[in-house]
């Protein structure tokens, strides 16, 4: 009995809001509700699917997510493996946690003050005579490649993965595996490439997958550091929702629905196609 109540409570707060929101968005996107609604229509879907903005935004979000994750994971692997002993004790073991105290919005503000044309690095370059005027400093904020966004997100995510990897390193008994590999004749390099890195990546695969999706949906960093076109998905949707042009609102909901469908499909395929993926690492 208690179990039933507990599970109902969980579903009520974890799933029902999302489902309600999704239905509202579907209704809105089909013209069934909203200020300007005048009956069932597929026009918002047609508009969204035929304009390039949405595809560009999805592609841009995926691009940023993949670049950020690649950089963060490579950095984190490198730091974890080469600094292992220092990360366990001493000042570094505390320092590594400090970046986690930065909310995304503060990280974005910091990156802006550091990388913008009038930012700190530009001033340093100026004082060192590398540039003569502000305009010569490269575009790293609101730029087409999202340099500022990527920089900021990497600062947020890398420390997290360093902690994750050094945890896994001990929990998965990698030192013992490495010794075993050495007795089997593996060199130091072979141990790193054939044992340590594969084990770490395999054990963190689920978390990495979640982070790719998490970065794709990130909001405040691209809001402050990104440009209008292309913009990351969350920013695009919220902008369309909050614009004065009421006709844009159904399109925003259409995009939200499509995004949910895409992510839902990916997760469902993985969940039913490779259930082990969730069981092993959903911890």
């Amino acid at each position: 009995m208690t179990r039933k109540i507990a599970l109902i409570f969980y579903i009520l707060f974890a799933a029902v809001p999302v489902v309600c929101g999704l239905f509202y968005a579907i209704f809105y996107s089909l013209g069934l509700t909203g200020i300007l609604s005048d009956g069932l229509t597929l026009s918002h879907w047609e508009q969204t699917l035929s304009s390039s903005t949405f595809y560009k935004s999805i592609g841009y979000s995926l691009f940023i997510a993949l670049v950020v994750m690649t950089i963060s994971i490579v950095l984190a692997l490198w730091i974890t493996i080469s600094w292992l002993q220092d990360l366990k004790k001493g000042i570094l073991s505390y320092m590594i946690y400090l970046p986690l105290a930065f909310p995304a919005i503060v990280m974005a503000f910091f990156s802006f003050q550091l990388l913008s044309k009038s930012g700190f690095l530009s001033r340093v370059a100026h004082s060192m005579g590398v540039i003569n005027q502000l305009q010569q400093f490269p575009d790293w904020i609101n730029d087409a490649y999202g340099v500022g966004i990527i920089f900021s997100l990497c600062l947020l995510i890398t420390p997290f993965f360093i902690i994750l990897f050094s945890n896994l390193y001990h929990n998965e008994r990698i030192p013992a595996l490495a010794h075993l590999a050495a007795t089997l004749g593996a060199s130091q390099n072979q141990i790193v490439w054939r044992v340590v890195i594969p084990v770490l990546l395999k054990k963190s695969a689920f978390t990495i997958f979640l982070f790719v999706l998490f970065v794709m949906g990130t909001y405040e960093i691209p809001l402050l550091l990104g440009r209008q076109d292309p913009s990351m998905l969350s920013v695009l949707i919220i902008q369309k929702l909050q614009k004065f042009n009421l006709a844009d609102i159904p399109q925003a909901y259409t995009m939200a629905v499509i995004y949910v469908i895409i992510i839902g499909t990916v997760v469902a395929i993985l969940f039913y196609g490779k259930p082990q993926f969730f069981k092993n690492s959903a911890q």
């Binding site: 909310p103 995304a104 503000f109 949906g217 909001y219 405040e220 995004y259 969730f278």
Partner: protein
């Protein structure tokens, strides 16, 4: 040697980030291309924290929201995660917990906003707390789920056969053993709430001014000095928590 230099660089860059924000918060009149602000004083802090009480208000309001969300979330997650962990459908149920992160909190907030307006919770503290609970609660369940392993179940059963009622088993066995897990859950969900911006801004519609919302509006007003003060206030409590609880956080592998 190279390793030492890298480590030193790493340590310096972390302190640089904190120091940089502090210097901006103390600064004034920072024209290009000066490396540092022309004036460095406590004036900004004095104005923000003494003359203009709105930042204090934002700080206290954020604290109230985050502490409440963390306390309610931890309690609810502790009780329900046990039943989820012991359920036949454990992995399906847990999958639900990842939804808010996978779908982005701000997008969920966008689709839910209508319901908050309809129930007149939009723009209220309670509304913001409820919206944050939708995000923090699944996260709390993820954190506590691992705690309910088969061993914990055996301990619970053993207590029962020794004559303990289910209430005293909760109170005398499960609660004391789970102290660390609960603290971890409390801190992590506190951070989820404390760091939250998009959803809070949308549901709070500008009336609920948390610290993150204040940072954003200062940036929009191009008032970088005040934005830096608000940023410092934002990173201070988590830094304290992280410092105090390094070893608890060390055991988690979940989302920030």
């Amino acid at each position: 040697m190279i390793k030492r230099i890298c480590q030193l660089f790493f340590a310096i860059s972390i302190f640089f980030a904190i120091g940089f924000l502090v210097v901006i918060s103390l600064g004034g009149n920072w024209t290009y291309p000066a490396l540092l602000p022309a004036t460095v004083s406590l004036d900004n802090w004095r104005v923000m924290l003494i003359s203009d009480s709105s930042l204090w208000k934002a700080f206290l309001q954020s604290m109230l929201i985050s502490l409440t969300v963390a306390a309610v979330t931890t309690t609810a997650a502790f009780v329900t995660s046990k039943h989820i962990a012991h359920s036949k459908y454990r992995s399906q149920l847990l999958l639900l917990s990842y939804i808010p992160y996978v779908l982005s909190p701000v997008i969920i907030a966008a689709t839910l906003h209508f319901f908050f307006i309809y129930s007149q919770l939009s723009g209220t503290i309670v509304g913001v707390m409820l919206a944050q609970f939708f995000i923090a609660y699944p996260f709390g369940v993820i954190i506590l789920n691992n705690f309910w392993n088969p061993r914990m179940r055996s301990i619970e059963e053993l207590a029962l056969t020794l004559g303990s009622s289910s209430w005293s088993t909760w109170y005398k066995v499960l609660l004391p053993i789970s102290k660390n897990a609960l603290l971890l859950c409390f801190f992590q969900t506190f951070l989820v709430s404390w760091f939250e911006f998009g959803l809070t801004n949308l549901i709070g519609v500008g009336s609920v001014q948390t610290l993150t919302v204040r940072v954003f509006s200062f940036i929009n007003e191009a008032n970088i000095f005040y934005a830096a003060i608000a940023s410092c206030l934002l990173i201070l409590p988590p830094m304290l928590l992280i410092w105090l609880n390094k070893r608890y956080i060390f055991n988690t592998q979940t989302l920030i």
